[in-house]
């Protein structure tokens, strides 16, 4: 090896250690998905805690897969066809087992638009989620094209082919418990692998990343979090944010939702307009979460009009 070859090799090693550079050098539209093993047979693809952008290609979401004796169970498929394809390649690199089934936790586009890469396999969701994807899937995909651009090429809304029937499934040595909850959307599927103690909480749980509320019912969501908090688990995979080994992200998400709920009601009764609510200071325990101000503003748009309506009495015609 001459001096030049040595330098090249050294350079490559250095690059491999730097994820952003590596992504930049890996060619366009490479999500650089690297499965992280969080428990036996159980892998998570951790997204960023950013908003959709042309830099991140929509990889702002956590997906995962469980390698069972009877094939791989995939939990959510990411924001685009390209993500789904790259996820499938990452699964194939991790195991020889075929994909047994795919689960869609809820209708949000960053969680199911990779379905196109799994069209040859059964794709399962709760009935409500299946119906909502059927109704709104195209519009949701269209909006992501606008937000992340060419990363979306070839992506269409592929709806689930099967409706979740049993709430417990024994598959290849893993006992999976399906919890059909709601509140983040009209139907949110959490998956507890009782064999490994891993809880895939879907977007019912965010971690150090401000929760999103475009289809939220805050009171139902808080009730669902109470259900999750009552489960016995060892590893918690939130929909967005870092994997945890305790209940802290459940507590954090619930505390924020509770504060949001009370603040919007009080503000509406105090006469604050929507843009005034958007500019309220955030409590310090939430202000440091990723996208805190942006998501708080979005939540005001989603939720505040109903609070204002409730706070304004019907007037008498004079």
């Amino acid at each position: 090896m001459n001096r030049r070859e040595l330098l090249m090799a050294g350079g490559c090693c250095a690059l491999a250690g730097l994820a952003p550079l590596r992504a930049a050098f890996a060619g366009p539209f490479d999500y650089a998905l690297r499965p992280m093993t969080v428990a036996p047979d159980t892998h998570v693809l951790l997204g960023t805690t950013e908003y959709f952008s042309r830099d991140n290609g929509g990889n702002i979401v956590n997906t995962g897969f469980i390698v069972t004796g009877d094939g791989v169970v995939v939990i959510d498929t990411g924001p685009s066809l390209r993500y789904g394809q790259q996820m499938r390649a990452a699964i194939a690199a991790a195991t020889d087992k075929p994909v047994a089934k795919v689960l869609n936790t809820h209708l949000h586009p960053d969680h199911f638009l990779g379905n196109g890469a799994f069209e040859d396999r059964p794709i399962t969701a709760g009935q409500v989620t299946r119906d909502l994807i059927r109704r709104d899937g195209d519009a949701l995909a269209e909006n992501l094209y606008r937000l992340v651009g060419d990363w979306m090429r070839g992506t269409r809304a592929v709806e689930p082919t099967q409706v979740l029937s049993a709430l417990v499934e024994d598959i290849g040595g893993h006992r999976l418990r399906y919890l059909l909850l709601n509140g983040h959307t009209d139907s949110d599927l959490a998956v507890l692998d009782e064999s490994t103690g891993v809880l895939f909480a879907s977007d019912l749980v965010f971690h150090d990343r401000m929760p999103t509320t475009p289809h939220a019912d805050l009171k139902a969501w808080m009730a669902s979090l109470d259900v999750l908090a009552g489960l016995s688990f060892a590893v918690l995979v939130p929909g967005h944010g870092a994997v945890a080994r305790d209940r802290a992200p459940i507590v954090q998400t619930r505390a924020y939702l509770s504060w949001l709920d009370a603040t919007f009601d009080e503000a509406a009764r105090a006469g604050l307009s929507m843009t005034e609510v958007m500019r309220l200071p955030l409590p310090p325990e939430f202000a440091g979460m990723a996208l805190a101000r942006e998501e708080f503003e979005r939540s005001a748009v989603h939720l505040y009009p109903a609070r204002v309506k409730a706070a304004l009495p019907v007037t008498a015609a004079k």
Binding site: A270, P283, P313, V314, K318
Partner: protein, 270 residues
């Protein structure tokens, strides 16, 4: 030869483009539609771009094009005759015209529809005929005016057309904060074959004295909510709202004098 071509291109670029598609010197938003909306919506007249005294606020991300909250705060301008809220790139640029009775217009908020990414402006006309203009640019997906109202659009208007929910709060520094919500579909006329149908006038008064007149268009959101500060309103008297929609249906409401102070308790603020 190549140099000649380049010179020709430069000459073409430097040639004046039609006035209607030209950003105006001094427009901080460099909008190609400004000269058009200035002429057609505001009727021309002298303009001062003044974001310090005419402050427009919208959220960072516009997600629902059918309901984009926009607030206008006007400070340090006397003899205000008229405030126009408009979006340069909307097929219906003007969302509302607000005429305050007392010469000051400290605060107005409404939600409006946006058909695409656009500058949003407030133009405040003072007694000397000058438009003081503030604004910002918002990014947005398409379709707020020309796309159907969302599948979840309320059918509230079918039973409760022009019904008013409203409340007044006493402002600690004097005057009244009023919020008025009118049940109305606010159809733009640009969707399917549904004709234009919107609230077109609301007069806010107290004991027969006009405090403000609002003239919304269909670019205001469905079931519009207006929040407005009325510095000259008495805090111990009822307020009336009277108006009509474009079909001539009447709007009439009496809002009891405020029993509460506007604003959150300090403890909730942090």
């Amino acid at each position: 030869m190549r140099r000649l071509l380049a010179a020709g291109l430069l000459a073409a670029l430097a040639a004046p483009v039609p006035a209607l598609a030209q950003a105006v010197a001094g427009d901080p938003l460099a909008s190609v539609m400004w000269s058009t909306v200035h002429a057609t919506v505001l009727g021309g007249g002298p303009v001062v771009f003044d974001d310090a005294r005419v402050r427009v606020f919208t959220p960072i991300r516009v997600e629902d094009n059918h309901r984009v909250p926009v607030s206008i705060q006007v400070e340090g301008l006397a003899d205000v005759r008229e405030v126009v809220v408009l979006a340069d790139h909307n097929p219906i640029p003007r969302a509302v015209t607000y005429a305050p009775a007392g010469g000051t217009a400290p605060f107005l908020e409404l939600s409006m529809k946006l058909n695409e990414a656009t500058p949003i402006r407030a133009a405040v006309k003072t007694a000397d005929g000058v438009w003081h203009v503030g604004g910002l640019r918002v990014d947005a997906a398409g379709g707020g005016c020309a796309a159907p109202r969302p599948a979840t659009a309320s059918a509230e208007w079918q039973d409760d057309l022009n019904k008013v929910r409203a409340r007044a709060w006493r402002r600690p520094a004097g005057g009244v904060r009023l919020e008025v919500r009118v049940v109305h579909p606010m159809d733009t006329g640009l969707v399917e074959n549904i004709p234009t149908f919107h609230v077109e006038a609301l007069t806010i008064a107290q004991a027969g004295r006009t405090l403000a007149v609002l003239e919304p268009t269909a670019a205001s959101a469905e079931n519009p909510v207006f929040a407005i500060d009325l510095p000259n309103a008495a805090a111990d008297a009822d307020i009336t709202v009277t108006g009509r929609d474009t079909d001539g249906n009447g709007i009439r409401a009496r809002i009891p004098a405020p029993d509460t102070v506007y604003g959150l308790l300090a403890g909730r603020r942090s």
